[in-house]
Symmetry: D2
Subunit: 407 residues, 4 copies
């Protein structure tokens, strides 16, 4: 165990990370700097200050990172239409790189030689925090208490609290849930408890951000989203900041029972896990973005994006946001978004999102004069299709003539 | 124009293809063989016989291909989780290869030297029919009347009917629709008319196979699908044939307002077009298949499938079902489905499909003893994660040490 | 046939394109503008002026595009390590986009409504010229005489020359070859004649740019190439312009019997063709670029590039240089080249190119202190490998425990 | 440290693995089973028996696996045209899965609970051995002495030998080399020593399997290889077994100075390393296989293979031969090889391999009647090209008309 002088901890203000403050102080005999960020998790961050102070923390960072989070992480990811394993909108994955970045920046500012976090040794989040930290600060040390200590049961943790005078009541709301939860402006996740049986259906009162489809209004809600260069900049004509866009879409989605997801996913560390997610705004954003792209993006650019998307999503899921390969892919993706401008109209109703219209004044590539079923006045010469088909078929015909069978 | 002796026509029994019968007889002075297939379009096929006979057709093929269609085309495609441009379930694309195959087989049986179809020169279907035909019968000739004749307006077509004594009333139901429609057991599509304005919302009475979400029952319907090697073999415990599976899922989906899609897509011939689709059963099958895979498929097999899926879907959309590259991809896909066995439970409610459970007695790779948030009794050593992260980070750290910046 | 007022012709000054000048004047009764470019084909371009004048051409463009060709086309392509079908360095493909661009620019400058070229209807070059032209000038018309006229034999062509007083002796050197040839600073190609039998070995005197390996010096030549951002900027310490780099490498390669290639390739129009190529400089550049990348490029960036390279090469081969998808891929590729700086030492000897050393003062990611077989003083902790392997194996073990067989 | 009763060791008979025998006996107080395989490394394996016996080993496996190695590992890999990072023919990677498989099979036969190997904690081979072992025998334990012991310098190792009476002279030939070497029928590798400076050129006397190009014959050697389903089955008309094919090609290549490679590669464990390789036969096989494919493989099958090849090569390099994803890819690859039959003629001369001819009686897709530059008698209608180009250009023109710029 190398000597640590000062460590920056990703501190939520909850019980677990409060225990970590103490444990770091005790175990490493080092100073702890706490870092608490508002990334839209829906809980006050300011109370973390008093708790940290009470444990003798001298350097306390509390920051509102919501705008940065949506602008520099969520939006670039949605430009890629990123979705992991066909279902997951990467809500947890996308928040980690920002935390990792601030941790190492604060370490530099405060002269700390290590960072620490409260993620377990079984999950993806440890990987995401640490890969990010190492990529941005190659000499940093990382302390992952859950991989080191022996407080691996609730009882031992409680005993430790009592012994060290850590007030156990300061975590409250979350403790009422039997699930392991994580939230940010993009989503809230649930794992563990009964969900460890993948056949078991999540009970209604687990969900926190959305009403059930059954409880949603009987009347559909229609909205219009405005896009500039692939990002949403307005809702129903009102220009909004990135964080305000997502906040409002979360409200609209949640009110309409939209964004619940129940999946079994493959973790980077090699196991399958079952997770439930609520991503109300994101569940609206994805089809809306695809819809504006469907009108404004060239076919081959769109297909190229689709072909690299699974790789991009995998990189994010696995924790490689801060990597040269993600940056290179982002260049490709962003290069396609120049003309992704216009509006998308959507219908939100009891759990479903339906695109019902899309338009773009200057960037539409939909040419009704060519596509029409009516007389096109020569805009398209149907006879061209014969040569097109004949040459595309040529290799197949040559092969078939040699006697090769395809069926 | 080469001399044609006999031509096999894909004959729906409707007005357009009836005109084509006459036009082929007149223009090529050849015999016409009609081929009418029930692929689940929901219309009687037997009436096509009398119509064909009335026009002097001597060789008439009328076939029920529903089981073959689902078993050999729809199911293999769903094993791949195929989806075109993020949205489209390829309902039209997947029916064409079967028609093309039967056309050239009948041509061989009847000694015909050509085939013909009623697809226009602007669409994908001409490509799909003809690529398939050329791949399976490289010497076949193809007559595509819509690319050849000058009956390119409704008026000219009607004038031709009158002149040739083609009874115009024998197409009826479809004519009431202002849309160009196509149906099979997987879906029904709508194009043209008001849909040529992509901002315009399709009116409720366009849709034929599903009730609106608003009109669907207020109570959710739960179903359990049984999978064997990636294919659905039972619904709620009842073993069903492929076509019966899809028929029943169409009913379940349609009753619950499921499967409507409204998109702008990129045609292979180079234009964008707007289409609306109803795919009630398919919209249930896709997430169900992904769910059973999520439990039973190895991570890297799943990711490999995801990485080739856009290519596979593009091949199907573009008409390359009968190609060596599609067959090679199918080998890869089918090789992954050996253990995709088990059950998936879904909730259908007012337009949305939600997976709520999945299980597999023998093939689950979900190992709760490893994934658990509780004490895992040593099944997983959290300390392994440190080495895993350290070595995955090594290249990033080395790069960062040379001064490279990622942010 | 639409009315053409003025057409810009890609004019080599040889017989075929001279015939085209006349044929265009006759057939379209239009003015012809000739465009002749030096892209390193190794023939004088200035003589084309007198020939064009003799045929009454008033607007004559003769340009030296060698630097632009290498800087903006060849070098960006080599950053991608582009190679088509595992063998072909795309020497013809890469020159066409530049010609297409100048053709439509000159059309705009001279008010021409069409462009024309001398490529046949069987090859890739017509596609490359025309896709480029349409992409840059969507309203341009294209006249491809070889697809239109009936001068499809040498006799008919000669008869036409005689009839129209086209001096047939003004093409000379090339006529001595029985092969269809094309050259630019990157390569020279040979097709047709005896090569149409793919079992037949090209005779020694076909090759023009290289000595045979047998005739090359008995002593190896060593050279050192300097790279900046992925491009070669110096040879043996001497800073050179892009065109000078390639000119010198062609000399070095040709003198050492390097760069001959004999392949069967798949044309975009659907047929296989046999071609022989001499690419002396390019055959040195490719392994040299890979070598400097091997030292300076991050592993995953390198693998990402490799994964998109076949697509990139296919795009270039098929004529999609001027497309949004090529531009997006180029962004990705160029983003990886920032640190591809340093030197590569190569041995050239009787047909083979061998990398024997590579170094980079500031951008090497090779860390001998870690990689060493000697004591590394703790730079790398071998124990980390255990966790790395264990977690990478986890999914395989879980699957194996369920009884799945891999062998 | 869990209790080990019996361990199967991959035993070369050399000093290092002899030390491991002793160390395992001492450290784990367990029985050691030795496994020594002839995979074409060019050294006698039988002497390993006496050495093992001298150390008290009771169960000794000595096997000739050369045919299995080439038939079931090398040949399937070459069907894929596998090449890592553009250069490396995976000579070491491909031997490990076979060793891993035999290790766990012998463990099962002998009732051993562990396997062991002599690979270090820095390299890829530990990963390849262990991933393979875990995939095939999920409950197996792995002992990797180099990661555990403290004999991490030559001095300590020698001291241990003396202390334990291990005769140090029984490894001899290899000790004369300052390099870390590994050999099998496909290649021999060199690492370490002076090679740790990537600018340093390997000296001539390092290379063992090939003469220098300078020392090779002044006369070229021509050979003809016969292929069946993608595998080489004959040389110059003589039918040979897989191992005999590779043995003979190694001789032919080595005699002609062929197969030397000097690269910096990216290891899976995260570092770059410099390696030199001699792969005489493989360097002939790769272009020969590509040549027979060029004649017999459909374009899109070939491009599909090329698109997945980097992934396939990466899997092999990283040690995932025994994985469901490699098996699925192999299905795809093998499905394309059905018609890869015929002959390739090559010229071997002073370090270079040149394909000079290829033919296939029944499976050639090269159709000279279509490709010809002469009159093709209507086999190909050049007018088809216009429609082909027009429709391929359509999307580009529509985009350009909206004002989008590509240059």
């Amino acid at each position: 165990m190398s000597k640590i002088n000062k460590v920056v901890l990703a501190y939520s203000g909850g019980l677990d990370t409060s225990v970590i403050v103490k444990w770091l102080q005790d175990t490493y005999d080092c100073e702890v700097v706490t870092f608490t960020a508002d990334i839209g998790q829906g809980e006050e961050v300011e109370p973390a200050r008093a708790k940290a102070e009470a444990m003798g923390v001298k350097e306390i960072y509390i920051e509102d990172l919501r705008e940065e989070f949506v602008r520099d992480y969520v939006f670039p990811m949605f430009r890629a239409n990123a979705i992991y394993e066909g279902e997951y909108l990467l809500g947890t994955s996308i928040a980690r790189p920002l935390i990792a970045k601030r941790l190492v920046e604060i370490a530099e500012e405060t002269g700390a030689d290590a960072i620490s976090h409260g993620a377990t040794g079984k999950g993806n989040d440890q990987v995401r925090f640490e890969l990010g930290a190492y990529a941005l600060a190659p000499g940093i040390q990382v302390i992952a208490p859950w991989r080191e200590w022996d407080l691996n049961s609730r009882e031992k943790l409680m005993a430790y609290c009592e012994e060290r005078n850590i007030p156990v009541d300061f975590s409250n709301k979350k403790k009422k849930s039997p699930y392991s939860m994580d939230a940010n402006l993009l989503h809230i996740s649930y794992e563990g408890g009964n969900l460890e049986d993948p056949w078991w259906e999540a009970e209604e009162d687990m969900w926190r951000w959305s009403v059930s489809p059954e409880a949603a209004p009987d009347q559909a809600t229609y909205i219009t989203l405005g896009f500039e260069k692939g990002d949403i900049v307005s809702i129903d004509g009102e220009t909004l900041s990135p964080a305000d866009v997502l906040t409002k879409l979360n409200k609209l989605g949640g009110d309409n029972g939209i964004g619940r997801l129940d999946i079994v996913e493959n973790r980077y560390v090699g196991m399958k896990s079952r997770g439930c997610y609520e991503t109300p705004g994101g569940t609206i954003m994805l089809p809306a973005h695809r819809a504006i792209e469907s009108l404004t993006l060239d076919r081959e650019s769109a297909h190229l994006k689709d072909s690299v998307m699974p790789k991009y999503a995998e990189l994010l899921y696995n924790g490689y946001w801060w990597s040269p390969e993600r940056l290179a892919l982002q260049k490709l993706i962003d290069a396609t978004q120049e003309h992704v401008n216009g509006e998308v109209r959507l219908k939100l109703y009891k759990g479903s999102v339906t695109v019902v219209g899309r338009r773009s004044d200057n960037d539409s590539l939909f040419d009704a004069s060519i596509a029409t079923f009516e007389d096109d006045a020569g805009a398209y010469d149907q006879k061209d299709a014969e040569g097109f088909i004949k040459l595309n078929a040529l290799r197949l015909r040559i092969a078939a003539k040699t006697g090769r069978k395809l069926s």
